[in-house]
């Protein structure tokens, strides 16, 4: 029996321990071990490689993990690991107050262990990946060094762009861009708030040439500075078209996309600004002045008008944001204060305080000759046949006789010995004779031979205007009280007529017309008379429909006289009495004595002409 029990025991144990289940099986997956570096953005709000940390302020460097792409990250400052969190947390940060003296430098490194993205077991367990490192230099600095300064302003696509330094510190919150304008209302205001540290420029859609300063405030704490900018304002200039039309032009300003329009104004005679027009930007950079006044000195202004509220009141806008130019209507000619002409299609021009007389050819519309003197010319006279010119200079008792057809015969004449204290000369005849006057006497003088031909005592006093006919046989003198007409005959100067120079008989202009029978044209403010010099009878008498303000000259060839009636320049045919309005002038233009008509052209002494 013992054997049975023992055998039973052994048998039972064997049965119980045999045939235990043993798991088996393998599952191998083939994977490309190359992997790829995830696109990790190290966003620490640190825009530069050198980080400025303010002295004695707590600073936090924080980097947000991106979950399944990053296994862990850590900061290493001065070689010492400061913090270490694995991917189970969402952020790695390091906070510290840097108490070292300004100027101290720490190297800082951020290490990130990214996923390998192979999909292997090691990758998914976070044991396989790429190590990315980024280094900075941390520099302790004073607080005033933390500010970002505006470094540049330029124009892009018609607007002003402002650029500034990237924020050098940590804990970036925002940039606040301010704009200051000394003459604006208000003088300084917040232009924009930028919440990204890498954005360091801004387009100012309000800038339109005003004096502006820009500065940045970081984190509502650190205030920087920047340059001021002003303009460039569109510089207005005037041009005359081929037909003399007055055109204003200017260059498009670089901030054109901030503008709504250009405002064109002029300054009136009282100094006040009068707006002419407001041109939309799209209309371009030129403007033809409508209905310009001949003989008027314009002062045109251009003011760029902004699209948006410009913080400027209108007076300031015009005062600080305008450019101006002077302009005249008509083609450009030399300026003059005195002009004379004869039978030829040329005129002679003298400007104030000048020693040069210009010959202007109306056919070519150019200056074709200059007559130069050593002295300043005070007066000059021209014969009707354009052969002789008498010139008085500012040296007393010295005159010049110019032979315009033969310069070898030109000479200077010192008349002190023959006629002391000469005050006036009365033009010059076609034969080179003329009248010289002092207060008491008038002398018929032969300039060529330098001799006195005749002399009379003047009945009046203070003669200030005189004229001799082309033949030299007739002359006119205007004294303080009277108009006197004379004839030179048989070496005698004979008085033909005297008129009081007052009221309706006040002479405005006298001119002699050439011919076998010379004629005198004399203009009063209400009438014009043509007198036959030989018979001394009035051939023509024209009553003006309205009082004239001025009479300028008679064009000998056409027989037309240039008059001014209110604001109209009139060409009056002295023989047939017809009148033609040729130009409009401003209210006071009639007081300007430099208007002149010749060869179908209207001239003005400030340097403009119209071809009629």
């Amino acid at each position: 029996m013992k054997q049975i029990y023992l055998g039973s025991l052994v048998f039972i144990l064997f049965i119980l321990q045999s045939c235990t289940f043993n798991p088996k099986g393998e599952e191998f997956v083939t994977i490309n071990p190359t992997g790829s570096i995830p696109n990790i953005e190290i966003n620490l709000n640190l825009a530069t490689d050198t980080i400025f940390v303010p002295f004695n302020q707590k600073v936090t460097f924080a980097y947000g993990l991106h979950g399944d792409k990053v296994n862990w990250a850590q900061f290493v400052i001065n070689g010492v690991v400061q913090n270490n969190r694995d991917f189970a947390y969402d952020v790695v940060d390091y906070s510290w107050t840097f108490n070292d003296a300004p100027g101290k430098i720490y190297p800082m490194e951020l290490k990130i262990f990214t996923r390998s993205q192979t999909g292997s077991i090691a990758d998914k367990m976070g044991a396989e990946g790429f190590l990315i490192s980024r280094k900075w230099i941390v520099k302790i600095t004073n607080e005033d060094k933390m500010a970002s300064h505006v470094i540049k302003t330029d124009f892009v696509n018609g607007r002003l762009r402002v650029e500034w330094e990237k924020y050098k510190g940590v804990d970036f919150i925002n940039y606040k861009l301010y704009k200051s304008m000394p003459y604006g209302i208000p003088t300084s205001y917040l232009l924009a708030t930028i919440n990204s540290s890498t954005v360091t420029s801004f387009i100012d859609t309000t800038y339109h040439g005003e004096l502006s300063g820009y500065y940045i405030v970081n984190n509502d704490r650190y205030s920087g500075f920047g340059p001021q900018i002003q303009g460039p304002l569109p510089v207005i200039r005037s041009e005359n078209a081929a037909n003399g039309d007055l055109v204003l032009k200017w260059d498009k300003p670089p901030y054109y996309n901030n503008l709504k329009s250009y405002r064109i104004s002029l300054k009136d005679r009282y100094g006040s600004m009068q707006q002419i027009t407001e041109l939309p930007i799209a209309s371009g950079e030129s403007y033809m002045v409508p209905n310009p006044l001949f003989g008027h000195s314009y002062e045109f202004y251009i003011t760029p008008v902004a699209l948006s509220d410009n913080h400027y009141s209108t007076p300031f806008l015009t005062a600080f944001l305008s450019t101006y130019t002077t302009a005249t209507y008509g083609l450009t000619i030399p300026k003059y204060t005195s002009i004379l002409s004869g039978e030829e299609p040329v005129s002679y021009l003298l400007n104030d305080n000048s020693s040069v007389i210009l010959q202007f050819d109306h056919r070519t519309f150019t200056t074709t000759r200059t007559i130069k003197y050593k002295e300043i010319v005070s007066q000059f006279f021209l014969s009707q046949n354009c052969k002789y010119m008498i010139t008085r200079v500012n040296i007393n008792q010295k005159i010049y006789l110019e032979d315009l057809t033969d310069s070898t015969k030109s000479k200077s004449i010192n008349i002190s010995s023959s006629f002391p204290q000469i005050q006036y000369t009365a033009s010059v005849s076609n034969s080179g004779t003329g009248i010289m006057i002092n207060n008491k006497t008038a002398v018929m003088y032969d300039y060529i031979n330098e001799r006195k031909l005749a002399e009379i005592l003047l009945p009046g006093s203070g003669s200030y205007y005189s004229k001799i006919s082309g033949s030299g046989n007739f002359f006119f003198m205007l004294t303080t009280n009277s108009s006197e007409y004379y004839q030179y005959k048989d070496n005698q100067m004979v008085l033909l007529q005297t008129e009081t120079n007052q009221g309706i008989d006040q002479i405005m202009k006298v001119e002699y017309l050439p011919g076998n029978n010379e004629k005198l044209v004399r203009v009063y403010n209400n009438r014009l008379e043509v007198v036959d010099c030989n018979t001394w009878t009035i051939e023509k008498k024209w009553i003006f429909p309205a009082v004239i303000q001025n009479a300028y000259n008679v064009d000998i060839k056409s027989g037309k006289m240039l008059l001014c009636e209110k604001t109209k320049l009139i060409l009056f045919d002295v023989m047939n009495g017809t009148r033609e309005e040729v130009a409009t002038i401003d209210d006071f233009g009639y007081m300007d004595w430099t208007f002149f008509y010749k060869y179908g052209q209207l001239l003005w002494g400030k340097g403009a002409a119209l071809k009629l």
Partner: protein
């Protein structure tokens, strides 16, 4: 071969009973066969493990059917019944694994069960004559679960092992056909179904430290429920049996 306390206790019990009853007629049987298992609780636990991992291991073994062995010691009573003791054992398990160039992961779960109990046979002279019988077993299930987790990365291995125990009760109704081969030897073809009632795995020595599935919040239990089919060879110790 390992000698453990349980085995010794069972062996001792059988020896005592056989010694005590040695004056009676009894028959001892040894058998085995195949068994199927439910194991849904443990399968769900495996799925929870898979979800918790950053990679997806593949289940290679998932508690497949396995062999069982048994020992019977039966005593004859009135003509139509036999009563006795039985103890059977079986095991099964699972494996989740994945490997690639960077490493290997293996999670093995091996469960073993020992099922001591009583057995009843009902039939016409069971064990005396050829014929069908109805069997009924009931007893205690003693389960153990061994978990081995191995993660090897770049040649470095990290292992974790756990041993857990569980106890329950079982019922196993069935039928068998017994053929008398000779005066001493009987051969039985057995078919039964195992029903178990389990509490759940716990740490050895600490029944309160139960293994809970964190997803379902249910205890992880052995579930040996399933078919048992096999044969048993009996040797009779009855002297007077012809």
């Amino acid at each position: 071969m390992k000698l453990n306390k349980l085995n010794l206790l069972i062996a001792a019990t059988l020896i005592v009973f056989s010694t005590t009853l040695k004056a009676q007629d009894f028959i001892a049987g040894f058998g085995g066969g195949g068994a199927t298992f439910g194991m849904n609780s443990t399968k769900n636990f495996n799925q929870t493990i898979i979800k918790s991992l950053p990679f997806q291991p593949v289940i290679k073994d998932n508690f497949p059917p396995w062999v069982f062995s048994r020992i019977d010691l039966l005593f004859f009573f009135p003509k139509n019944m036999a009563f006795g003791y039985t103890v059977s054992s079986t095991s099964t398990g699972s494996r989740m694994t994945l490997s690639d160039y960077s490493g290997k992961y293996t999670f093995d779960n091996v469960q073993q069960g020992i099922f001591p109990g009583i057995k009843l046979l009902f039939g016409k002279n069971p064990m005396q004559t050829n014929g069908m019988n109805v069997s009924f077993e009931a007893g205690v299930s003693l389960s153990s679960m061994k978990i081995k987790e191995d993660l090897t990365l770049s040649g470095e291995s990290t292992k974790d092992e756990s041993n857990l125990k569980a106890m329950g009760i079982f019922l196993q109704p069935g039928v068998n056909y017994i053929r008398v081969l000779n005066a001493k030897i009987r051969l039985s073809a057995d078919l039964s179904y195992y029903f178990g009632i389990e509490k759940g795995y716990h740490s050895p020595g600490n029944k309160d430290a139960r293994l809970i599935n964190p997803d379902s919040h249910e205890p992880v239990k052995p579930q040996w429920d399933g078919i048992r089919i096999g044969v048993t060879l009996y040797y009779s110790f009855k002297k007077t049996i012809k």
